[in-house]
Amino acid sequence: MSDTDSFAQILRRGLWHENPGLVQLLGLCPLLAVSNTLVNGLGLGLATILVICATNVLVSACRRWLHDDFRLPVFVLIIATFVTSVELLCRAFWFDLHLALGIFLPLIVTNCVILGRAEAFASRQRVSAALADGLAHGLGFAAVLIALGGLRELVGQGSLLAGAELLFGPVGRGWSLELVPQSGGLLLAALPPGAFIGLAVLIAARNALTRRRANAGRVTAAAADS
């Protein structure tokens, strides 16, 4: 990691090469627990992006005054304070949103992606790079949450975006798609095993895509040689 990293590189790393959900397999506890519908995944994804960006910026801003022996407790303090403040503010000002996100918000503390980025990146980099890194990893994590949530909702309940009004207000009521009406769907996908199987499918898809890309690169290189 050098200071020559462009924002594009930082973004690509967080979203694809070092994706927290699919490559680093970090933060699986909240990822598997709340990815049963697309809206739940989106809600946790948004809250995670907010906390990871704020934590990265603060850690980066304070990095000069941190001592190696004491930095981890300081990171944990910062993360816990942010999550608690966000939860309190949410309960006071966006109570309906809190009713929808209520159980996810405290779960963000358990997300080791945030601690991992604070430790591995933000504590060594300037503030702007730390913000980009937080955004990249937050978006990467949210993308997996949304994909897994959508997959499980589609297979498990035959719908998409059910309950969107909890997150977006009455406007979201019309967004719900009942793709396979009254089917009930494949229950397994909605239950905890469905989370593991769904995540495995996503990881396999990502690996296949990476391999195909690598092969394509090799073929192009070989063609150029001959």
């Binding site: 941190l66 001592h67 309190l88 009930g184």
Partner: protein, 260 residues
């Protein structure tokens, strides 16, 4: 600024000091946020409570603030929980209208199901909503009003109806439609609602004590006490029923408050 400024100049002592400073700052920030948000959060919770009570009560039938007119009762057998549970009282003027009981169905498919059951003064179910559950998504969670209309089917049920019909699932030979694929959940909710109505019928006089009425009725004939089937017209005599001596409930009374 470059990546090599990661070399830390802070001493161990300075690092420890930084941890203390961070802890104090975090505590101060949280205390401030908490002080600033606490009143709004309390208001929001009260409003949410009122909203959930409005969902089970008949609109326009009451004019008090039922979420502030609370008694706490304890009856593990009929209410399904070892805890003391709140009963909210809806009134219109001085007339009792309905009681909203908090009951627990201990035998759900995935554990306890917490319900709000509104029982009218006439013993009729006014509305039921699920307050908390962990039933299977897509199957048992259709007890939620926003997922299906099943829970609305309790409206209008009374304990006087033949037990074998209205209060029994179709699967068990009764007339109450179960949720397809969620028989255990349906049975648990049905049983809990029925127990709530039975509890209300047995403890009506304690939930709405006659002493809160402006018209004291002395010397009501004892035979009236057995009349558990009052209609709206003989409400007054019904309210004079003395507390049954074999009451299994422990009722803590809070003074009823005037509507806000």
């Amino acid at each position: 600024m470059n990546a090599h400024d990661t070399q830390r100049t802070t001493s161990r002592r300075g690092g420890a000091l930084m941890l203390i400073v961070a802890a104090v700052a975090a505590a101060a920030l949280l205390a401030t946020v908490n002080r600033f948000t606490a009143p709004r959060i309390a208001d929001n919770i009260a409003a949410e409570q009122l909203r959930s009570l409005r969902a089970v009560l008949t609109p326009g039938s009451f004019d008090n603030a039922p979420h502030r007119d609370v008694i706490t009762v304890h009856d593990p057998e009929l209410l399904g929980s070892d805890e003391s549970l709140p009963i909210y009282r809806a009134r219109s003027g001085i007339q009792p209208v309905a009681a909203v009981l908090t009951v627990v169905a201990p035998n759900g498919y995935a554990g306890r199901i917490r319900l709000l059951v509104a029982v009218g003064i006439d013993g009729e179910v006014k509305g039921v909503r699920v307050a908390e559950h962990r039933e299977t998504p897509g199957l048992g969670d259709r007890i939620e009003a926003r997922k299906s209309g099943w829970i609305l089917g309790f409206r209008g049920l009374r304990t006087e109806e033949p037990t074998t019909d209205a209060w029994t699932l179709d699967r068990d030979g009764g007339a109450f439609d179960r949720l397809t694929g969620a028989t255990i959940t349906s049975r648990a909710v049905l049983g809990a609602v029925r127990n709530a109505v039975l509890y209300f019928s047995a403890h009506r006089a304690e939930i709405f004590p006659a002493t809160t009425e402006s018209v004291p009725l002395n010397g009501a004939p004892p035979s009236r006490a057995d009349n558990m089937n009052p209609s709206a017209s003989n409400q007054d005599s019904m309210l004079a029923i003395p507390s049954s001596p074999h009451s299994i409930a422990k009722i803590h009374r809070h003074p009823p408050q005037d509507p806000a």
